[in-house]
C-alpha cells in the first residue's frame, strides 16, 4: 500500500516536471513557479519514502525521512535535485544486496519495493525491480547533469563513438548463437524451467524461430545485429545472475554448462565465463548497432543540429529552385522584351535608313521623311530599353541605394505617402533590389486596390534584420494568396530568407511587413 503511494508520487513528479519543461520559458510566478523551480528535486520525496519503508518500515522513520526530504527540497532545491539520482542508484544496489542475502539464507523474508518475498520465492522479482531502478538512476544521472554525470557521459560517448561504416555480415550472423542460447534457455521444453511444450511441437517452434532468424539476417543485417547485441547483453548478464542465484533462476543448461544435473560450483563458474564472453561481445556490438540506427547518439546537440541542417537544406533546396525559376522567367521576359522591342525597332531603323539612302538622290523629301521616322524609332527603342532596365535594376537603386530608391518610388506614387527611413548603412545589391520590388508591389497594390488616401512606409534595420512596413488606410481585405504579384515577391524574398506578411482585415487598414536578414555596409552619402 505504501509503495502504491510511492509509485503514484513518482509518476506524478516526473509527469509534472516533464510537462513543465516541455512548456519552456518563461516560468510562471506564484506557487506553481516555485514548485517548478524545485523540479526534479521533488523526486526526493518518493526516494526518501521508499528508503524509509525498506529500512524496516519503522513507523517513526517514514515521517522523519519525509520531513528531511521536504526541508531539503524547500531550502536547498539544487542539492535535493542532485541527490535524487544517487538515491535511486543506492536503492538499486540495496535491492541487489537484499536479493543476495535472501538467497543465501541470511534472511527469511524480504520486502523490496512492491515485492514481499518469503520462503525462497521471489528473489528474481527483487532483482528485476533493482534492475529497473538502476536504469532509472543512470538516466536521471545523465539527465540532471549532477556531479559524476560527466565521467559517465564521457565513458558512454567513448563507448558509443565507434564502428562507423555500417554492419558487417559477421556481425549480423552473431544472431545465430544468440538464438541458439536463447532457445536453450527459453526454448520449448525449457521455458525458464517450465515445461510447457514438448515433442513435435517443440521441434516445430525451434525450426520456425531459427528460420525467422536466418530470414532476418538476410533481409536486414542491421536489425539482425541489433537483436544479436540486445540478446548478447541480456544473456551475458543472465549468466552472471545464474552464478549468484542458482537455483533461484530457471534454466536447465547455460551454453556448455549443464545446470540441471551437475550444479557444482565449477560448472557455475563455467557459466560465469560464458556470460562474460557474451557480455563482452554484446558491449562490442551494441555501439556499432546504435551508430547504425542513430546519427550520433552520444551527442544529442549534434543530432538536433543535424535536424536543423536537414531542415535548412530543404528550405534552401526549395528557395534555390524558386530562385532558378524566377531567374529563368526573368531572362525569358528580358529576351522577349528585347526581341519584340528594341531589337525590332533597330531593324526598322536600319530599313528606314537604307530606304532613305536609296531615295536620297531621286526624292530628297521622301528621304527626309524616312530619316525623321528613323529618329523617332530610335527614340522609341531607347524608351523600350529604359522601361526594361527599370524592371531589372532601377537606376536610382544603382546610383543611391535602397533608401533613395524608395524615396524616388514614393515621389512617383499618386497617393499621399509618408516615408520614414532609419537605415544606418547600405543594403547589399541583390537584397536591396528584392526589397525595393517588394515595396513597389505593395505600394502598387495600395494604389490600385485599397482605395487608400495615405500610405506610410517605414524602412528600418535592427538586430541584423532589414524591415519594411507599408501601411495604408484603405478598405483592407487584401488576400496575398490571390494574384501572383505578392506571391512572386514572397518567392523572391525567400531566396534571401526574407518573409512577407500581410495583415488586411476587412475595413482596413492593410499592413504589409517585409523582413530580410542582412547586414548593412557603411553608408554611401545620400546627397551632395
Amino acid at each position: 500500500m505504501l509503495f502504491a503511494v510511492v509509485l503514484l508520487l513518482t509518476i506524478g513528479c516526473i509527469a509534472f516536471v516533464l510537462a513543465q519543461e516541455a512548456r519552456g520559458v518563461p516560468r510562471p510566478g506564484g506557487l506553481r513557479g516555485r514548485i517548478r523551480d524545485r523540479g526534479w528535486g521533488l523526486l526526493l520525496l518518493p526516494v526518501a519514502m521508499a528508503a524509509a519503508v525498506m529500512a524496516g518500515g519503522a513507523h517513526g522513520l517514514i515521517p522523519a525521512e519525509l520531513g528531511i526530504a521536504v526541508l531539503a527540497i524547500v531550502f536547498v532545491p539544487k542539492l535535493a535535485a542532485k541527490l535524487v539520482p544517487y538515491g535511486v542508484l543506492g536503492l538499486a544496489v540495496f535491492g541487489v544486496m537484499l536479493a543476495k542475502m535472501y538467497h543465501d539464507g541470511f534472511t527469511s523474508q524480504v520486502q523490496y519495493l512492491f515485492v514481499h518475498a518469503v520462503s525462497r520465492g521471489g528473489a528474481e522479482l527483487v532483482l528485476a525491480e533493482a534492475g529497473v531502478l538502476f536504469v532509472v538512476g543512470l538516466w536521471l544521472l545523465v539527465r540532471l547533469d549532477v556531479p559524476g554525470a560527466g565521467p559517465v557521459r564521457t565513458l558512454a560517448a567513448r563507448w558509443l563513438d565507434r564502428g562507423r561504416g555500417g554492419i558487417s555480415a559477421v556481425q549480423g550472423l552473431l544472431l545465430i548463437p544468440v538464438v541458439g542460447l536463447a532457445m536453450q534457455l527459453l526454448g520449448p521444453g525449457n521455458w525458464f524451467g517450465w515445461q510447457a511444450v514438448d515433442g513435435l511441437d517443440a521441434a516445430l517452434i525451434d525450426l520456425t524461430v531459427t528460420t525467422a532468424a536466418l530470414v532476418l539476417i538476410f533481409r536486414s543485417r542491421a536489425w539482425a545485429a541489433t537483436l544479436a547485441a540486445a540478446g548478447l547483453l541480456v544473456l551475458g548478464v543472465y549468466g552472471w545472475l545464474i552464478v549468484a542465484f542458482w537455483p533461484a533462476l530457471p534454466g536447465f543448461a547455460y551454453g556448455f554448462t549443464d545446470l540441471h544435473n551437475d550444479p557444482g560450483s565449477a560448472h557455475l563458474w563455467g557459466a560465469a565465463l560464458q556470460g562474460s564472453v557474451l557480455l563482452a561481445a554484446g558491449l562490442w556490438l551494441a555501439p556499432r548497432v546504435m551508430r547504425q540506427h542513430l546519427a550520433d547518439p552520444a551527442d544529442l546537440e549534434l543530432a538536433a543540429r543535424a535536424r536543423q541542417l536537414t531542415q535548412r537544406v530543404q528550405t534552401l533546396t526549395q528557395t534555390r529552385h524558386d530562385a532558378v525559376d524566377t531567374a529563368s522567367a526573368e531572362l525569358r521576359r528580358i529576351e522577349r522584351d528585347l526581341h519584340d522591342g528594341a531589337q525590332a525597332r533597330l531593324v526598322a531603323l536600319g530599313m528606314s535608313l537604307r530606304a532613305a539612302e536609296r531615295l536620297f538622290a531621286t526624292n530628297p523629301e521622301a528621304a527626309l521623311a524616312l530619316v525623321s521616322e528613323a529618329r523617332e524609332t530610335s527614340s522609341r527603342a531607347l524608351s523600350d530599353l529604359r522601361d526594361l532596365v527599370r524592371g531589372i535594376y532601377p537606376p536610382v537603386l544603382a546610383d543611391r541605394g535602397l533608401a533613395d530608391a524608395v524615396r524616388a518610388l514614393v515621389l512617383d506614387t499618386p497617393l499621399h505617402t509618408e516615408l520614414d527611413v532609419d537605415l544606418p548603412g547600405e543594403v547589399q545589391t541583390p537584397v536591396g533590389a528584392a526589397v525595393y520590388f517588394a515595396v513597389a508591389e505593395a505600394l502598387a497594390n495600395a494604389v490600385a486596390h485599397s482605395g487608400a488616401r495615405t500610405v506610410r512606409i517605414h524602412l528600418s534595420h535592427a538586430a541584423g534584420l532589414l524591415r519594411a512596413q507599408i501601411t495604408d488606410d484603405g478598405s483592407g481585405g487584401a488576400d496575398p494568396a490571390q494574384g501572383t504579384g505578392l506571391a512572386g515577391v514572397e518567392r523572391r524574398l525567400a531566396t534571401f530568407d526574407g518573409i512577407l506578411a500581410v495583415n488586411s482585415p476587412p475595413g482596413g487598414p492593410t499592413i504589409v511587413v517585409i523582413e530580410v536578414p542582412c547586414a548593412l555596409s557603411s553608408a554611401k552619402t545620400s546627397s551632395c
Binding site: 531607347l382 532596365v389 533613395d404 506614387t413
Partner: protein, 214 residues
C-alpha cells in the same frame, strides 16, 4: 555662348561637341570624369554646363553630384543635366537651391537639335527645363492629390508647360490662346501657390518646385 561638357562615352561626347559647335556654341571643355567636370565648371565658369548624370569614377550619379557641388560654389551656375533616365528625386535636388538655371532632360532629346539648343539657351538665361517624361508622371499623380487641386485644369496645363521650360509665347502657341491669357493664368498659378510678386523668372522656378514637391 561658352559651354562645358561632361560625358564619359566618347561617341556621345564628340557628338555633342559637333552638334553644339554647329549651332554656334563655344565648347571650352569636354571632359569624361566627375572630378575633371567639377574642375572645369568651377575654373571655366561657363554660360552653361552640360552634364551626364552617370560618370566615372563610381559610375553612379557622380555627374549629378559634381553639378550640384559646382552650383554650391557658384550659385546659379546654369547646368543642363542629361541622363538615360529621368528621376523626380534628382529633379528636386537640382531645383532645391531655388536659383533657377537648371535643366534635366533625357539623352534622346538631343535628337531634336532645335529643341535641345533651345533648352540650353533657356537654362543659360536662368530658366528651368524639365523633361516631358517627368512632367507626364506629375500629371498622372496630380490628378488625385492635394495641393495643386486648387488650380484649374487649364492652369495645371500651363504649369506643366512652364516646367518644361517654355516661355509664355511658346505656351500660348502650344495651347492656341493669346499670350495675354497665359500671363493671366500664370498670375493665377502664382497667386494660388502663394508666391509673392518678385522676379518673374524666380517665381516660375518656385512654381515648378512646388509642382515637384507636392
Amino acid at each position: 555662348m561658352r559651354v562645358v561638357i561632361g560625358e564619359d562615352l566618347f561617341l556621345l561626347r564628340e557628338g555633342l561637341v559637333r552638334l553644339l559647335s554647329a549651332h554656334g556654341f563655344e565648347v571650352v571643355a569636354a571632359v569624361g570624369t566627375a572630378p575633371e567636370l567639377l574642375a572645369a565648371l568651377v575654373d571655366e565658369h561657363p554660360d552653361v554646363g552640360i552634364v551626364d548624370v552617370r560618370l566615372p569614377p563610381t559610375h553612379t550619379d557622380d555627374g549629378l553630384r559634381a553639378a550640384l557641388k559646382a552650383r554650391q560654389r557658384i550659385p546659379g551656375l546654369p547646368v543642363l543635366v542629361l541622363s538615360q533616365y529621368v528621376e523626380r528625386l534628382y529633379a528636386r535636388e537640382l531645383l532645391a537651391d531655388q536659383a533657377g538655371g537648371v535643366g534635366y532632360l533625357l539623352k534622346d532629346r538631343v535628337f531634336n537639335d532645335d529643341q535641345f539648343t533651345g533648352a540650353i539657351r533657356t537654362v543659360a538665361t536662368g530658366g528651368t527645363v524639365l523633361d516631358p517624361e517627368v512632367i507626364g508622371k506629375l500629371l498622372e499623380r496630380h490628378s488625385r492629390t492635394e495641393p495643386l487641386t486648387r488650380l484649374t485644369a487649364r492652369e495645371r496645363e500651363v504649369l506643366a508647360l512652364m516646367a518644361e521650360g517654355r516661355s509664355n509665347a511658346a505656351i500660348a502657341q502650344r495651347l492656341f490662346i493669346t499670350e495675354k491669357a497665359i500671363s493671366k493664368h500664370a498670375a493665377g498659378i502664382f497667386d494660388k501657390l502663394g508666391l509673392a510678386l518678385s522676379d518673374d523668372d524666380n517665381r516660375r522656378v518656385l512654381a515648378v518646385l512646388a509642382y515637384l514637391d507636392s
